[in-house]
């Protein structure tokens, strides 16, 4: 069994079926690019992975164990969902940084709140917070913003904000990091700096799922490509095949062709 698997995920909104039975497999340390036209269900799929939507049907496996089964969704408490969610990180299209906190505080807030639930928190508060802050500083450096820790989000460019958002997601040490069109809200020149961060994460073997419209980037960084069309998986395979001339899916060939023009 692969590191991460989705089996038969279905999701409807008000009688419109958005996901019509999706299967995904992803090995540890690999990058999966999800591509497809608007309304094909890419974002909904990513939101299901992050428990922002609850699938109507389907199962999710992580690291060999069943993480979620839609048949038992009623019995899940908020706390359980919260714990399951921590396996995944999410980077949004429009960053969603917390405006009243500095970049550094954005990174530290959630880890510190989570640390309060640890049984040894009271005795080791200083050490635990110190560790979190050190990690946050390291992550800001990793995304090239070591100097910007004290800036508020409004003082940063879109590309910088998105890099802070990536660092913030990494601060929770997720098993899989998800990106929902991370560069769609950015100018082309700012897109580059965000994509560079993604490249370096791929080199470090971070397991990632990226919903993107950047075809060149997807073909360069992704190990696997999932092409979604109208709620179905139309193509699922190696990115070399997906973007190669011998791609078995006519629709994917057309899609890639139409975007490159």
């Amino acid at each position: 069994m692969a590191f991460f698997e989705l089996h038969g995920v279905k999701k409807s909104f008000a009688h419109t079926e958005v996901l019509k039975g999706i299967d995904v497999t992803l090995d540890k340390g690999k990058t999966l690019a999800i591509i497809g036209s608007s309304g094909s269900g890419k974002t909904t799929l990513l939101r299901c992975v992050n428990f922002l939507e609850t699938p109507d049907e389907g199962r999710m496996y992580l690291d060999g164990r069943l993480l979620f089964d839609a048949a038992e969704k009623q019995s899940l408490s908020e706390k359980e969902i919260r714990e399951k969610r921590l396996h995944f990180g999410m980077v949004f299209q429009n960053f969603n940084l917390f405006p009243q906190y500095t970049a550094f505080e954005n990174l530290c807030l959630a880890p510190k709140l989570l640390a309060k639930e640890r049984s040894d928190f009271k005795q080791n508060k200083k050490a635990i917070f110190g560790e979190i802050e050190e990690k946050a500083r390291g992550l800001l450096g990793k995304v090239g913003l070591a100097e910007k820790g004290d800036s508020y989000p409004y003082q940063l460019s879109g590309g910088q904000q998105q890099r802070v958002a990536i660092a913030r997601a990494l601060a929770m040490s997720p098993d899989i990091l998800c990106f929902d069109e991370p560069t769609s809200a950015l100018d082309p020149e700012l897109t580059v700096e965000v994509l560079n961060v993604l490249r370096s994460l791929a080199r470090d073997n971070m397991t990632m799922i990226i919903v993107t419209h950047e075809m060149a980037f997807a073909s360069e960084v992704a190990d696997r490509v999932l092409f979604m069309d109208n709620g179905y998986v139309d193509f699922d395979g190696d990115s070399s095949v997906a973007f190669g001339p011998d791609c078995p899916s006519r629709r994917l060939r057309e899609f890639v062709g139409s975007i490159e023009k």
Partner: protein, 231 residues
């Protein structure tokens, strides 16, 4: 009457204006929160009840609400609640108008709580869904998301409309006049009617102006304090 006498006479009234102002804020600001929460509730009956109350309270003149609250106990239940309090405190402690002031305070607190609730609701609903979702994917609880992420952003957004209401409130206190509470305008009017003096009316206006000036400075400081971030 000397200038000093008239100042004291007006101050006696302005004390009551300030009392109404402060008590209305102390009760109305927190009371607006549960009303706002009910108005946003997914439980339909609760939402409906709260919306109807807000509609009535905001839809009917405050003066009428003061009359109704003051007269209903006596004229409907045949027990002059506020009149009895008036008499009791006057005879035993020499405090004037206490029952009437109580009726005014009830009307004001309820009325302003409803206005505040709508400001809170607008503020809370203006925060983007993305802020909640960002908190969720970082493993935060609903309470943590509200208190650590959303609340301060809401406060920042509601300071300007709240400032407006608060400034309106000090001037609305003059409505207590309608059930003969001796607030500052009633005092000034008494001077005009009994001593044929016009200037105390202008003098009373100066009290309001100074008060509103101070409020404007204070509320401006609050706004400035929250200007370190943008949302």
């Amino acid at each position: 009457m000397s200038f000093w006498d008239i100042t004291l006479f007006l101050l006696k009234g302005f004390r009551i204006s300030c009392l109404i102002f402060i008590v209305t804020l102390v009760i109305g600001i927190p009371l607006g929160m549960p009303i706002a929460i009910c108005s946003m509730s997914r439980f339909k009956p609760l939402k409906a009840v709260s919306k109807v109350i807000v509609w009535i309270v905001r839809g009917v003149p405050l003066m009428l609400q003061i009359f109704i609250i003051f007269y209903v106990p006596g004229l409907v239940f045949n027990y002059q609640l506020f009149g009895s309090i008036d008499k009791y405190l006057l005879l035993n402690y020499g405090i004037e108008d206490s029952g009437r002031i109580l009726a005014v305070l009830i009307a004001f607190a309820l009325n302003y709580a409803c206005y505040f609730s709508e400001i809170y609701r607008g503020g809370i609903e203006s925060i983007s869904k993305g802020q909640y979702e960002a908190g969720q994917v970082l493993g935060m609880t609903k309470g943590q998301i509200f208190f650590r992420v959303v609340l301060l952003q809401v406060v920042k957004r509601i300071v300007p409309p709240m400032s407006n209401e608060i400034i309106t409130l000090i001037k609305d206190t003059a409505l207590a006049n309608c059930i003969m509470v001796a607030e500052i305008i009633k005092q000034a009017n008494t001077l005009a009617a009994t001593k044929a003096l016009i200037w105390p009316l202008f003098y009373a206006g100066a009290f309001y102006l100074i008060f509103v000036g101070l409020l404007t400075v204070l509320l401006g400081m609050a706004e400035k304090k929250l200007s370190y971030f943008e949302n």
